[in-house]
Symmetry: C2
């Protein structure tokens, strides 16, 4: 057996190993001329494909990965069900990876996918993700990626979202119509584009209705539930005291209710609440919670459908795909 490797060919031809590898696989990214040069030298030097490496590379894992911040959030557990309903019909396994809102973990997980462990990836990024290199690298190693819900705006690949700006606007307008004068917005990240779009909708509604906003009306919470209780309690205790709250992510609902209980602030008499939430228990909370309900299951379905199109049709323009599904305001006692 010859000791000629891709490296030998690359060195000899003054090409990168990536180019040689692609040329040997007849990639459309490589010019016919380069392919010819690579194949001729390979033949001349008696180059033999490493059967082990090749077998691994071509292997269809029949598996897709879903990369999520957490599963305690009802949005994600419903979205998973939507994804699995599609994967099931395709005979694929679904692997769920949790980042726990940790950017380094997300990077590590995506790096692992380059080896061909999965055929495609559905991802909702962490609240810390500012840099997108890890996602770009995955895309350039020919693993299709579809964003759902928490997208990264700058990357050109399929995205499935809801109408975040409009929903933020509708939620705020609803509280204004219920006579709220000082509404605050609870965020969990300065970087997540969907949370910022909801915030932009909130700001626009205030402006359209000529309501003032001060800097401390945008309250940044953390990923630590105990800290969040203190952050929210602090804001609810200083003037100007809010009479309305827009909660931008489900997990802040519990600390908000807990703070109101502790401070003796009756909901909705003293403070009215709308939360972006898919909590199944919303209607049995004390009081029942007004929600912006995202079409979580459908978003999961749509994202998976796009990914399978990319897997099944090599010419599918995955980069151009954008799906926006509308959320719904469900009015309950907490805002009445």
């Amino acid at each position: 057996m010859s000791n000629v490797t891709i490296k030998t060919l690359a060195k000899e031809l003054k090409l990168s190993t990536g180019t040689v590898s692609k040329a040997l696989k007849d990639s459309h990214e490589i010019s016919s001329e380069t392919k010819l040069r690579v194949h001729e030298l390979a033949k001349k030097l008696n180059y033999v494909v490493n059967p082990y490496a090749s077998s691994l590379r071509k292997r269809k894992s029949k598996t897709i990965a879903v990369v999520l911040p957490e599963v305690a959030d009802s949005f994600f557990s419903l979205a998973i069900n939507g994804i699995e309903s599609v994967a099931q019909t395709k005979g694929y396994h679904v692997l769920i990876y949790l980042t726990h809102e940790n950017f380094l973990k997300e990077k590590e997980i995506l790096n692992d996918f380059k080896s061909g462990r999965v055929d495609g990836v559905l991802i909702s990024v962490t609240s810390e993700t500012k840099d997108s290199t890890h996602i770009c690298e995955l895309l350039s190693s020919d693993v299709p990626v579809v964003f759902f819900d928490r997208v990264f705006d700058d990357i050109e690949t399929a995205k499935v979202t809801t109408n975040d700006f409009e929903s933020g606007y509708i939620a705020t307008k609803h509280l204004i119509e219920k006579k709220c004068k000082r509404i605050i917005y609870l965020s969990i990240s300065e970087d997540l584009s969907i949370i910022n779009k909801r915030m932009d909708g909130f700001k626009k509604a205030l402006m359209d209705h000529r309501l003032k906003m001060s800097e401390n009306d945008i309250v940044y919470c953390s990923n630590d539930e105990y800290k969040n209780f203190d952050i929210i309690k602090k804001r609810m205790s200083v003037n100007p005291k809010p009479d309305g709250i827009i909660i931008s992510v489900e997990k802040l609902t519990i600390p908000v209710y807990a703070v109101c209980k502790e401070l003796g602030l009756k909901i909705p008499a003293k403070v009215k609440i709308v939360s972006f939430s898919n909590l199944a228990s919303a209607f049995i909370l004390d009081p029942a919670l007004t929600t912006i309900t995202q079409p979580a299951y459908k978003m999961g379905e749509a994202a998976a459908a796009l990914l399978f199109k990319a897997l099944e049709k090599p010419n599918f323009q995955i980069r151009k795909q954008q799906v926006v599904l509308p959320s719904v305001l469900t009015i309950r006692k907490s805002s009445l």
Copy 2:
């Protein structure tokens, strides 16, 4: 290269291919005499290990799988966090597979693990799982398996559970002390041993306090939330009407509250409720929910710790390991 395979050796020696394979790997399950016969023939016939197969088999995937019925249940999302906290310190990835309470899906997933995709498995079985062949097969392909919460009693491998019988007893005794005379028990499976242990605790408490029980006081719900509403509504509408309910799994809490709302049955005045639940929102429900809270995070941690011991120490007696961690009764308004 010789064309002698494991099959050739097996045929010649009148042994199974499994035995020959194990003998070549020096397994303790094979007698020294058989090993000698296999090795002698292998040498004589110039048998060469298939490098591709061997490489796959020895490959450490640095990955463990968690196989669960669902993630919408707070117990499971907390247990995952416990599991991941341990895996993180070991530098392992955690893959989550959902069975959606479907036995065939569970079988399919476990079959897939035999190829070496993961190094070890943590599992909580579906409510349909009666047959354990798929789990035994996985164990016999040398993939360590640890059960947590929903165990399969007959299989000899590590198990991490809570004190289900005792918790069922304590929950029921609490309702009896609050003057309930007709308590019903909501189950989701005739097969799940943990649900039946909770039920046995329920029955024993009734017996010890000389309370009668009729057949329809054990109510079997399904995996379909809409059906569950109807099943519970039906039982709450016929005589003898219950004045107490033990809910054996979290997901039945919402339909129980919904039925009570619809029938105008005030909780706790007309009917008192205790639920096995890790719902973070238990204290803000209307009324706040009395729970048997399982040590979900700790159970996940303990299960993962056992699995890593098995992966790190070949002589670790995984079959003998049993960990039982106690649950806690947290009394809130729904049972007062």
